[in-house]
């Protein structure tokens, strides 16, 4: 069998530096936005005491979820022994690290007191799932870092599988943890569901793979390398399965919620009369993020169209973004029912009314900067390290099924 040759990503300088420069610009703008938010206080955002987590959290959670999913390809390659995926393992590890870092940057900069990062890193309340998440995140960096190392350094090859397994379990734990951030919010009806954690896992698979496909194709286009159709077809089919699964989980989630009488209100809100959230659910999550990509991925008309795969992946991401938005913001917007059987006539604190939230540009810029941070890390990482195979031409013989 021909050995895979990994090579730093080289492409013509103006292209590379130009790309980096524009990413850097986006990041700079985002940092400016974050500074604006921190300097003035969060009153310059659309967030309030009702919607306490706004757009930055949507971005952050989206990226973090995608991060653990991005590792999927590596796991299939070295944990489950999918030879077709093996050469992609390194890049998948790098992307996972990049996405997580991007997400965390956003999360950090959205804190009320980011200057107290050291407090967050040194004082833990082990009862808090959030604290566990901090450990899970740092652990993720370490383990995926090690995993990358074992994949790249022949001397440590023998540890590849055990570390790969560890990374695999860690990342399942991480997504479960992220999902549980919501699962633990028993008070909020939208989140109080055991299915939240597995749903996050499957969401992570889908977004992570979509990110993977997009970055992979772009990287290869950037550097003028080739990817074989067969490989892409595999990735594409996998993506299709994940997208389907996400839809399925969403269905189960809402069905089980409908089963619990208490949750009828919030279900009605999301599915029927939640205004923007309902639209986002049906148009954003289901249509853009589910049905259209499925069509693009499975329709015979587009079997080998790379463009279709790119568009489908992009739509999966957009749909996923809406999905997280509906979960995070929609879940908060729906009022908590403190007084069953009563109707709130007046309250200065918006009891009983749907909270409104209009994100500001600053929040969006911060979130986008997070994505830019991820992409910058990936761009720099793949230039500095040998993560991308020289060529991803389909293997000549059908050895890789």
């Amino acid at each position: 069998m021909i050995k895979t040759q990994y090579r730093e990503l080289y492409c013509s300088s103006p292209r590379y530096w130009g790309g980096l420069a524009s990413l850097a610009f986006i990041i700079l703008v985002g940092l400016g936005a974050a500074f604006h938010m921190e300097h003035n206080g969060h009153f310059v955002t659309g967030m309030s005491n009702q919607i306490v987590w706004g757009l930055p959290h949507v971005f952050a959670i989206f990226l973090i979820v995608a991060a653990s999913g991005a590792l999927n390809v590596a796991s299939i390659g070295s944990v489950f022994g999918g030879p077709m995926y093996k050469p992609l393992g390194r890049f998948s590890g790098l992307l996972a690290i990049g996405l997580l870092a991007g997400g965390l940057v956003v999360l950090l900069l959205d804190l009320g007191r980011p200057d107290r990062l050291i407090v967050a890193m040194t004082t833990y309340n082990f009862k808090s799932i959030f604290a566990w998440n901090i450990i899970l995140y740092t652990g993720f960096f370490t383990i995926v870092g090690l995993y990358l190392w074992t994949m790249m350094d022949r001397k440590f090859e023998q540890y590849k599988r055990p570390v790969g397994f560890a990374a695999f379990f860690w990342r399942i734990a991480l997504t479960t943890g992220t999902g549980s951030i919501f699962g633990f919010l028993v008070a909020r009806e939208a989140y109080d569901a055991a299915i939240m954690a597995p749903m996050f896992i499957i969401m992570s698979f889908s977004y992570g793979l979509a990110f993977f496909i997009i970055t992979l194709i772009s990287a290869y286009w950037w550097a003028g390398r080739t990817i074989g159709d067969l490989r892409l077809a595999k990735l594409k089919n996998l993506l299709g399965v994940f997208v389907g699964a996400v839809l399925y989980f969403a269905l189960v989630y809402h069905l089980t919620n409908l089963y619990v009488t208490q949750h009828h209100g919030v279900e009605r809100f999301i599915l029927l009369d939640g205004g923007v959230y309902t639209n986002m659910f049906w148009i954003g999550q289901v249509l853009i993020g589910g049905i259209i990509p499925l069509f693009l991925l499975y329709s015979p008309a587009f079997t080998t169209s790379r463009f279709a795969i790119m568009v489908a992946s992009l739509l999966v991401l957009i749909g996923g973004f809406f999905q997280v938005y509906v979960i995070v913001i929609g879940g908060q917007a729906y009022p908590m029912n403190l007084f069953p059987g009563k109707e709130v006539l007046t309250s200065s604190f918006f009891d009983g009314v749907v909270a409104s939230y209009t994100p500001t540009i600053a929040e969006a810029l911060l979130g986008i900067a997070g994505i830019a941070v991820s992409m910058t890390l990936v761009a720099i990482g793949s230039r500095m390290l040998r993560v991308l195979p020289e060529s991803l031409e389909d293997p000549a013989d059908g050895e890789c099924i």
Partner: protein
């Protein structure tokens, strides 16, 4: 939703905590209490007591907001300036409110009731459970508060609190009272007037205000001391915890909802 059954067990504690003595002393002799209160405060918060509030919604008057105003004053919340450029709507949504007035109508009977909502000082506070740094904490005497020296402003506690009892400080705070430091980027909520209580007072600011207006809707006291007014009152009539289904065993109880 009636929960007289899960009220704190008040019979086991027969003795009086030192601080209760001190508290009494403080009430008895406000002018000369300092050294005494000092001794009391030396001990800090004691687990021999559990502070709580009992709110009689029947007595809470429609249109009154004396408790809210008093709280704002007590804690220097009213010193906060509205940031320039902020709309009314956003100011309302973003300004801190440790206590709020809620007016309810029963969907069946149409009965109107009024009540103040503040942190319920849960015995099993979700806000404390979720706080990553342990900034949200419950003192030995049952008061739940935020240590704003370690709060990172993640707002997870706000997500977790079933009562929306907490506020995030969205802006710079130019002026504070010495007793209640507060500033941008942290989360805060009713602390049962901890500073006052530690200094030996036996009432909260909101209670004082309500009493002053003649409503007597708020009663502060030690839930664990069977002889305290609040314990007696709780025994006398059935009270409610809001969202009792969550089994948080709140320290703030309501009668007549």
């Amino acid at each position: 939703m009636s929960c007289s059954n899960d009220q704190p067990d008040m019979n086991r504690r027969e003795f009086l905590g030192k601080s209760v003595v001190a508290a009494t002393a403080a009430v008895v002799a406000p002018g000369v209490m300092l050294t005494v209160a000092n001794a009391a405060s030396d001990e800090g918060a004691s687990s021999a007591v559990r502070w709580g509030l009992l709110i009689d919604t029947n007595k809470c008057a429609d249109g009154c907001s004396a408790c809210v105003d008093a709280c704002n004053k007590e804690n220097g919340i009213d010193l906060m300036q509205r940031p320039t450029g902020q709309s009314d709507e956003m100011w309302n949504a973003q300004r801190p409110q440790w206590v709020r007035k809620v007016k309810l109508r029963d969907k069946q009977t149409g009965e109107i009731s009024n009540l103040p909502m503040m942190c319920q000082h849960c015995e099993h506070p979700p806000c404390v459970d979720v706080c990553p740094t342990g900034a949200s904490f419950k003192r030995a005497d049952g008061i739940v508060m935020v240590d704003r020296h370690t709060c990172i402003g993640c707002r997870y506690c706000m997500m977790a609190c079933p009562y929306k009892a907490r506020s995030f400080i969205h802006q710079d705070v130019a002026e504070q009272l010495t007793g209640t430091p507060r500033g941008k980027g942290c989360v805060e909520s009713c602390n049962l007037c901890a500073g006052r209580i530690d200094a030996g007072h036996s009432t909260t600011a909101c209670q004082d205000a309500c009493n002053k207006d003649g409503h007597q809707a708020i009663l502060f006291g030690d839930l664990k001391n069977p002889d305290s007014a609040i314990a007696k009152a709780l025994k006398a009539e059935s009270s409610h915890q809001i969202r009792a289904d969550l089994e948080l065993n709140t320290g703030v109880r309501y009668t007549n909802i």
